[in-house]
């Protein structure tokens, strides 16, 4: 309870709340968001945090928001309940999203506000005076928010201990002192203590993770042992997690000199028989396009995780978009098969990374794991990842005993499925030629007819023959609903919430979340579009890239497909989707 005595009982208990924290880069907004996220998870709530930062180390406006709810959520709450502002810009920007009962807490050592329900505390001055370093002001502000929300004091301290214990005793003590300063200041303002309470939830089995971490874990558990990448926002964390996770499992992680090297490093390692992956974002993907084509032509299994951000060119490195899809579907010069698979939740990031590794090796081709900034970097509660459920399927990799029984080994043997059994170099008694040039079954360069035709059909045919092996889509909502919604990746969260809101308005919708985006699974898409009168395809790009791929795949449904697009760098809010759907229905 702290030294401040018993607060009055809260006026209102929140079951779904949103805290927005804004300031300059370096003010520690992400730290406060992380602390609150950890706290809410510990009281059994579902948590979703999002970030809005600039591509610079310090300075510039940065904000983060934490949503906590008794119900599962993977979307930003339409209205902010608590705004924590470290500067005036953050107060002005954030107050536009504030709900009618929303409260602003701000650092009055920096600026003053005259808005209703706003309370200023001189966090920087107080902490500077008593701890010696004003940088701990964010922890003091976290303390003030904890009083406003009637948060449990030992648990509030506990998450600070959890987060800062690795930084050493001094940093921990200073943070705890700053927390106390913030709490004491808040108890001094009669309106703050017990202003609100937060309902406890039952989601105690959940973990808190981000897509990038889930992909890294999925890679390790899925048998991935060689990774090479080049730092790029918002994909870098995949490499950083793997640098930590992979070495104990005899894996190798390399930071390459550029993305050209990264993709070719993994091609070399896959050729040698390792399970491999690289990760990147738009600009790096453009460079990797050359190598992915080589993997396609030479039938080398590589997984490329693309964490999409705003494009084209360097675009907006820290902002969200889903605009690489069209490029990926038509990736590279010439024609070669590739699968594009798209997880929609953090758990699916784990599961589909395993699946991507399996598919690449089984079908011997490049697989794109399509992600987006919000999915990669926003923290969300998720069911825990389970290694025991994972299946490692390597396809037809031949070992010495099998080879001993063979008359001949052809690396590109023509088969019914188009898949040629593979023997990695180093296998006694056998060797092979692998090439991205057109080749015959032996891997010798060839321009012969009909060999060229047979080899094209062998490779391209995989996209048809693999259809039943590719990740199936998810369906949500009543099967008889006449309004359809299609969305992939992180749009699943806002779409689920929009479905709830529409339900409240007695508008029934059915949501199809495809998890294989290319090739388009016509056997899924066609019956779905048949079942609805109209279908909104929700995506973060200008031209409606997935809608266009659908129109190409099932042209007979052309009239039903309506694009709902957003390309301002921010994720959809559920209310925007509700407006798009009710406005157009």
């Amino acid at each position: 309870m702290g030294s401040e005595g018993m607060p009055r009982p809260p006026a209102k208990i929140l079951a779904d709340l949103s805290v927005m924290i804004g300031g300059q880069g370096g003010d520690g907004t992400l730290t406060v968001s992380d602390l609150l996220g950890r706290y809410f998870r510990k009281i059994g709530l579902y948590v979703y945090t999002s970030r809005n930062v600039l591509s610079r180390i310090r300075g510039g406006h940065a904000d983060a928001s934490v949503r906590a709810s008794i119900h599962p959520t993977a979307a930003v709450k339409p209205e902010v309940d608590v705004l924590l502002a470290f500067d005036e810009e953050a107060a002005n920007l954030g107050s536009k999203e504030l709900g009618p009962e929303g409260v602003i807490i701000y650092d009055s050592s920096v600026f003053t506000l005259s808005l209703p329900n706003s309370y200023g505390f001189p966090f920087a001055t107080l902490v500077g005076g008593q701890v010696g370093q004003p940088i701990y002001k964010n922890t003091a502000a976290y303390g003030a928010v904890s009083v406003l929300l009637g948060m449990d004091e030992p648990l509030t301290r506990g998450v600070i201990e959890e987060r800062f214990q690795r930084r050493g005793a001094e940093a921990l003590q200073k943070n705890l002192k700053a927390l106390e300063i913030g709490r004491r200041a808040a108890f001094g303002v009669p309106e703050i203590p017990g202003h609100w309470g937060v309902q406890h939830g039952e989601a105690h089995d959940q973990i808190l993770s981000i897509g990038n971490q889930a992909v890294a874990l999925g890679f390790v558990v899925g048998g991935g042992r060689f990774f090479s990448g080049y730092p790029i926002t918002p994909a870098t964390e995949i490499m950083e997690y793997l640098q930590k996770y992979l070495p104990p499992f005899h894996g190798v992680v390399r930071q390459a000199e550029d993305e050209l090297a990264a993709i070719n490093n993994v091609i070399g390692a896959a050729y040698a028989g390792a399970r491999v992956m690289t990760s990147t974002s738009g600009p790096g993907l453009s460079l990797m396009t050359e190598g992915i084509g080589h993997a396609g032509a030479a039938e080398i299994p590589v997984v490329v995780a693309d964490c999409q951000r705003v494009g084209p060119s360097t675009g907006e490195p820290t902002r969200h978009e889903q605009s690489d899809l069209a490029h990926l579907a038509h990736l590279g010069h010439g024609e070669y098969p590739r699968f594009i698979i798209a997880p929609g939740t953090v758990l699916e990031c784990f599961e589909l990374t395993v699946e991507a590794l399996n598919l690449a090796e089984k079908w011997r081709l490049p697989v794109i794991l399509l992600l987006d900034q919000a999915l990669c970097q926003n923290t969300v509660t998720s069911p825990p990842f389970d290694a025991a459920k994972v299946k490692v399927e390597r396809g037809q990799i031949l070992v010495a005993e099998q080879i001993a029984k063979m008359m001949e080994y052809k690396a590109y043997k023509l088969t019914e499925t188009g898949i040629s059994p593979y023997v990695p170099p180093g296998t006694p008694g056998v060797w092979a030629e692998i090439t991205g040039n057109e080749h015959d079954e032996w891997g010798h360069v060839s321009v012969a007819v009909p060999n060229r035709v047979q080899m094209m059909q062998k490779r391209m045919g995989k996209m048809v023959k693999a259809q039943n092996d590719l990740p199936k889509g998810n369906f949500f909502g009543p099967a008889d609903a006449k309004i359809g919604i299609i969305g992939f990746g992180s749009t699943t969260g806002p779409i689920w919430e929009a479905q709830e809101l529409l339900n409240g308005k007695r508008v029934a919708t059915r949501f199809y979340q495809p998890r294989t985006l290319f090739p388009i699974l016509v056997h899924e898409v066609d019956p779905f579009l048949k079942s609805v009168d109209i279908c909104y395809v929700v995506e973060h790009n200008y031209s409606g890239q997935f809608a266009n791929l659908l129109r190409e795949a099932v042209p007979w449904h052309h009239q039903k497909i309506k694009s709902v697009v957003k390309y301002d760098g921010h994720t959809f809010r559920a209310l925007e989707l509700v407006r798009a759907i009710t406005g157009g229905a």
Partner: protein, 290 residues
């Protein structure tokens, strides 16, 4: 024994310098008794990059300029393989320059064989990064890969050979293979390999090559000495050949790329990746996420 891919007829013009390299590779592999299945040749794009098609070993034909990046992946995934990357001067010093320089600092135990003919032969004789001024209208200064590599203070093996001197070439290639097979680091050999069709330099080069080991003060463990000797030889209108840097035994690699793997580690390609074999480790890893 199972029938593997048979070598095909070389695409090279009769008399091409690359035949000398092919013969040296066969001879060296034979002499060192490297099992065919343990040798992996990574070829670049261009006439020289097709060399792996003419040998009974594992071959992978990489993208133009990317052979070193692929060779690195092969070596790190299976350190037991003997990895030789082979390509031309355009492949290595133009489109592949970034990977070329980084290969020295990465210092993985790969032999990199550049067949330098000072032209783009396969596309019919354009100027390359090593072409002399005036060749096909070239007005850029020729690039000297040996001087560049000598300026990188990493314990690499560095040499230049000449296809017209097969004995020296074979001896140097054997030494380079031994160096990498002992996991001592990167071995770079630039072979002067005339293009008989577009830049027939046999006669010219035979007159100009200078065996550096015959020069006074020759000391391949001392980069500064070798840099000076190479420069002086060039200034006299000669082309230095021979071993340019041979790290002394005390100059062993401490931080090179393969050191990420323990000596007894099978490497990523041969690690046990079964769920059963790793379940305890995986469970611990996943439980740490809260």
């Amino acid at each position: 024994m199972v029938q593997s891919a048979k070598p095909v007829q070389p695409i090279w013009c009769p008399g091409c310098g690359d035949f000398g390299v092919l013969a040296a590779v066969k001879k060296a592999a034979n002499e060192l008794k490297i099992p065919q299945h343990e040798l992996a040749l990574v070829g670049g794009i261009g006439c020289s990059g097709s060399i792996h098609n003419f040998l009974e070993v594992n071959g992978i034909h990489a993208l133009h300029g990317r052979l070193l990046a692929q060779a690195l992946g092969v070596k790190l995934a299976n350190p037991q393989l003997t990895v030789v990357a082979a390509g031309g001067d355009g492949d290595g010093y133009a489109i592949g320059m970034g990977h070329f320089i980084h290969a020295f600092k990465k210092n993985a135990s790969i032999v990199y064989l550049v067949m330098n003919n000072e032209t783009y032969g396969l596309t019919k004789g354009q100027a390359s990064p090593t072409s002399r001024i005036g060749f096909e209208g070239n007005i850029e200064h020729p690039f000297d890969a040996i001087l560049t590599s000598l300026s990188i203070p990493v314990p690499n093996f560095i040499a230049r050979t000449f296809s017209g001197d097969p004995r020296m070439m074979t001896a140097i290639l054997i030494e380079a293979l031994q160096f990498t097979r002992a996991h001592r680091g990167f071995a770079f050999i630039e072979d002067l390999s005339p293009c008989v069709t577009y830049n027939d330099t046999y006669k010219l080069w035979r007159e100009k090559v200078q065996d550096v080991s015959k020069l006074q003060g020759y000391d391949p463990t001392d980069r500064q000495v070798m840099f000076r000797l190479c420069q002086e030889t060039r200034e006299k209108g000669k082309i230095p050949i021979g071993v340019m840097h041979r790290p002394s035994e005390s100059e062993t690699e401490e931080v090179g790329l393969e050191k990420v793997l323990l000596p007894d580690d099978l490497g990523p390609a041969r690690a046990d990746i079964s769920i059963e074999g790793n379940l305890a480790g995986y469970t611990k890893l996943l439980r740490a996420v809260t």
